[in-house]
């Protein structure tokens, strides 16, 4: 009897009071990504991966702090910086203290900036930024923040690993670099030039080109130039439609060498390249699905594919974010003391389900982990992408890439 009254009161309060932090059984993570518009595919896929990871890896094991559950709350930022800030404010008002974002380094910059200011102006209501995908090196260098943690390897680390592998290829004499004309594309190009110069001064960079982002309709002329330059390999950081357009144009023009990419997988890209990309497309990244590293990883992917037959685990590091956050909260002994959780993150070592050890470097909040070079192929693609039969299959691995790399980060601690 008394219980029902309480419940009724609770329901009434829940309707009237928007700050649902009053019922803090659930630890909420705000997922701020595009969920409408033409980048919504990536956003929705990430949301599913977060929900699945929280459900199966944390909640099913009894939650954190002896019974608190993770809850992922989705906010649609429409891939707009302005909307991201509005939604951040809505999330903060709902009592949410953890913000997960990753698509677009530009938005990550806006969020890191806004969260810095918020935490400075509202020291009683701190917020933490879990960046699982935005790889602009500046985020853990010049713009680094105590409230920001990056779980993906940054663009420089990836290029470092990629050029390690490229340097071993003695046949490689000429390389062409092409990317989108914005901070990330420029970062990739700069890293490629300097890394190749250090490791293989004999390799000639025959082209270093930027093209307008999401504006090029026909990539054929760029492809022609690449062929005419007699390059042996292409490096690009392109994503989305720019990746597909560039890749198809290069392959159609008769290019036979490897195309080293950051993002040529999943969300329809793997299916679109299909047979044509086999043996040509290579990916650098932290994810390893193929070959599966363990039965546990394989079971996890299988369970995910059973639940979402049309989905893919294309951002496997999301699992690391969720597991490490659970660990940090348990270690801090509180889900509200953001400073303690941040301190718990610093230097944390974690054995990922994907086989790599992960160390959250304290000096710049950059996760150090294995980086893999994968080949787009159907051979050994146990877990294919886009149900196409093809997937990136890991060919070589750089252990704990960038562990001793320098950072310009001057961390301001509270």
């Amino acid at each position: 009897m008394r219980k029902t009254v309480k419940l009724g009161l609770g329901a009434a309060l829940a309707l009237t009071v928007s700050a649902s932090s009053l019922f803090a059984e659930n630890i909420k993570i705000a997922f701020i990504e595009p969920l409408s518009g033409f980048m919504a595919g990536t956003g929705t896929s990430g949301l599913h991966q977060y929900e699945f990871a929280a459900e199966t890896l944390v909640n099913a094991n009894g939650g954190v702090l002896g019974g608190d559950m993770f809850e992922i709350v989705a906010f649609d930022n429409k891939l707009s910086g302005k909307e991201s800030l509005v939604q951040l404010q809505v999330a903060i008002d709902q009592g949410i203290r953890f913000v997960a974002q990753g698509n677009s380094s530009g938005i990550a910059h806006a969020l890191i900036d806004a969260i810095n200011k918020h935490n400075k102006r509202n020291p009683d209501d701190l917020v933490m930024f879990l960046n699982y995908s935005a790889v602009d090196p500046a985020l853990t260098n010049d713009k680094c923040s105590f409230w920001h943690f990056r779980f993906d390897a940054n663009a420089d680390f990836k290029m470092d690993a990629l050029t390690d592998v490229m340097a071993e290829n003695e046949d490689l004499k000429k390389v062409y670099i092409i990317g989108q004309d914005y901070s990330f594309g420029k970062a990739v190009a700069a890293a490629a030039v300097s890394d190749l110069g250090n490791k293989r001064p004999d390799i000639e960079v025959v082209g270093n080109e930027l093209h307008p982002i999401i504006k090029v309709k026909d990539f054929t002329p760029y492809a022609r130039k690449i062929i005419a330059s007699e390059a042996d390999a292409v490096i690009t950081g392109n994503w989305g439609a720019d990746m597909v357009g560039l890749g198809k144009a290069i392959l159609d023009s008769g290019f036979e060498g490897p195309i080293y990419t950051y993002y040529a997988a999943a969300d329809g890209i793997t299916a679109t390249f299909g047979e044509a990309g086999k043996g040509s497309l290579y990916l650098v990244g932290t994810d390893q699905l193929n070959p599966p590293v363990s039965d546990r990883a394989a079971d996890y992917i299988t369970a995910y594919k059973t639940k979402y037959p049309d989905g893919d685990i294309n951002q496997a590091r999301i699992v690391n974010v969720v597991e490490m956050l659970a660990k940090a909260i348990n270690e801090a002994g509180s889900a509200t003391d953001i400073v303690a959780i941040a301190n718990a993150f610093e230097g944390m070592e974690h054995d990922s389900i994907w086989g790599s050890k992960i160390v959250m470097r304290a000096k710049d909040h950059q996760a150090i982990q294995d980086i893999h070079i994968s080949e787009h192929t159907d051979e050994g693609a146990v877990f294919d992408y886009d149900n196409s039969g093809y997937a990136p299959v890991v060919k070589s691995t750089v252990k704990m890439a960038g562990a001793d790399s320098a950072t310009t980060c001057d961390m301001k601690r509270p």
Binding site: G41, P212, D218, A228, G268
Partner: protein, 318 residues
């Protein structure tokens, strides 16, 4: 030299593709005064319909059926939407097509999702027809050229040699008179709108495998089509053709050039600053022509409009 020849061919392919879109748009625009913002959305519908059909019946049936379906959809939009809005004036018409473009994009995402679709060239055309230097010319590109030229010739024939074409040309200039002569002008309008959107659909069918089939493909091409018909001169089929080819070659050559703006600055007698990050002009020093290739048509359009407001081949004000 070889590269120039290759670029000529690529620019031709892209230009003719633009022409297929702009031909329909310029007819619709000059006849009905409608800036059809949803034109590129019909192009997108063409690609998506063709993909769907091709999964059941193969590429060639998609090529035949999808443009017709798009054309019928376009005619339906004219009949039940645009005709109603027409009475309110041109701005509401434009906003109607604007809203329609939004709706079509949402519709496409609702049905097919947000990802890239694996819509590819038919296997029979998926080979290199010939090579210039080390550059392959795909058979599919040559096929695209032939389809576009075929469409252009057919349009030219219909407009200048047939009775229907005469009525359309007359309705372009004197709609009232044509109506008084007993022709059904609303029907002509609907027909022109249907054929125009059908052409856009056809362009989508053949461009989808080349340029990618994804929900952003309409926005990507949307405004450039307007630029084309404005530069060419409204209502002029020849103008649309010339402007399409001009833009096709311009963007292609710009993209494949390696011209640097630093050369201009040096020629102006400026010194390259030693510390680049301190210079206010640092972006100009590193700028290359390929970086700004896709915005060249917009510059050209502004220039043309300022100097010659009726476009290159137009006879009346835009």
């Amino acid at each position: 030299m070889e590269l120039i020849l290759v670029n000529l061919i690529d620019g031709l392919v892209y230009g003719l593709l633009l022409f297929m879109l702009s031909a329909g748009l310029t007819l619709i625009f000059s006849m009905m005064g409608v800036l059809n913002f949803a034109h590129a959305s019909f192009y997108m519908l063409g690609a998506y319909f063709a993909y769907q059909i091709s999964t059941y019946m193969g590429f060639w049936m998609g090529l035949l059926i999808a443009p017709v379906v798009v054309g019928i959809a376009g005619a339906g939009v004219e009949r039940y939407g645009l005709r109603r809005v027409h009475q309110y004036g041109h701005v509401p018409e434009l906003i109607f097509t604007f809203g329609l473009a939004l709706l079509i994009e949402e519709f496409v995402q609702f049905i097919w999702g947000n990802s890239q679709l694996p819509y590819n060239e038919p296997a029979i055309l998926d080979f290199a027809l010939f090579s210039i230097g080390s550059n392959d010319i795909a058979a599919y590109k040559v096929f695209m050229i032939f389809v576009s030229i075929g469409i252009f010739l057919a349009l030219l024939y219909v407009l200048t040699r047939t009775r229907v074409g005469m009525v359309i040309q007359a309705a372009l200039s004197y709609p009232r008179t044509v109506e008084n002569l007993g022709h059904n002008v609303p029907l002509v309008f609907m027909g022109v709108f249907g054929v125009g959107t059908g052409l856009a659909g056809l362009a989508g069918v053949i461009a989808g495998p080349q340029l990618g089939t994804f929900p952003g493909m309409a926005i990507l091409l949307g405004s450039i089509v307007f630029v084309t018909i404005v530069i060419g001169g409204l209502g002029s089929l020849w103008g649309a053709l010339v402007a399409s080819l001009l833009i096709g070659w311009m963007t292609t050559f710009a993209a494949s050039s390696s011209f640097q703006f630093a050369d201009i600055l040096l020629a102006l007698g400026m010194e390259k600053p030693a510390e680049m990050s301190e210079s206010a002009l640092r972006d100009l020093w590193t700028l290359t022509l390929p970086q700004i290739g896709p915005i060249l048509p917009y510059m050209l359009m502004v220039l043309v409009l300022v100097v010659r407001p009726y476009g290159l081949f137009g006879k009346r004000d835009a």
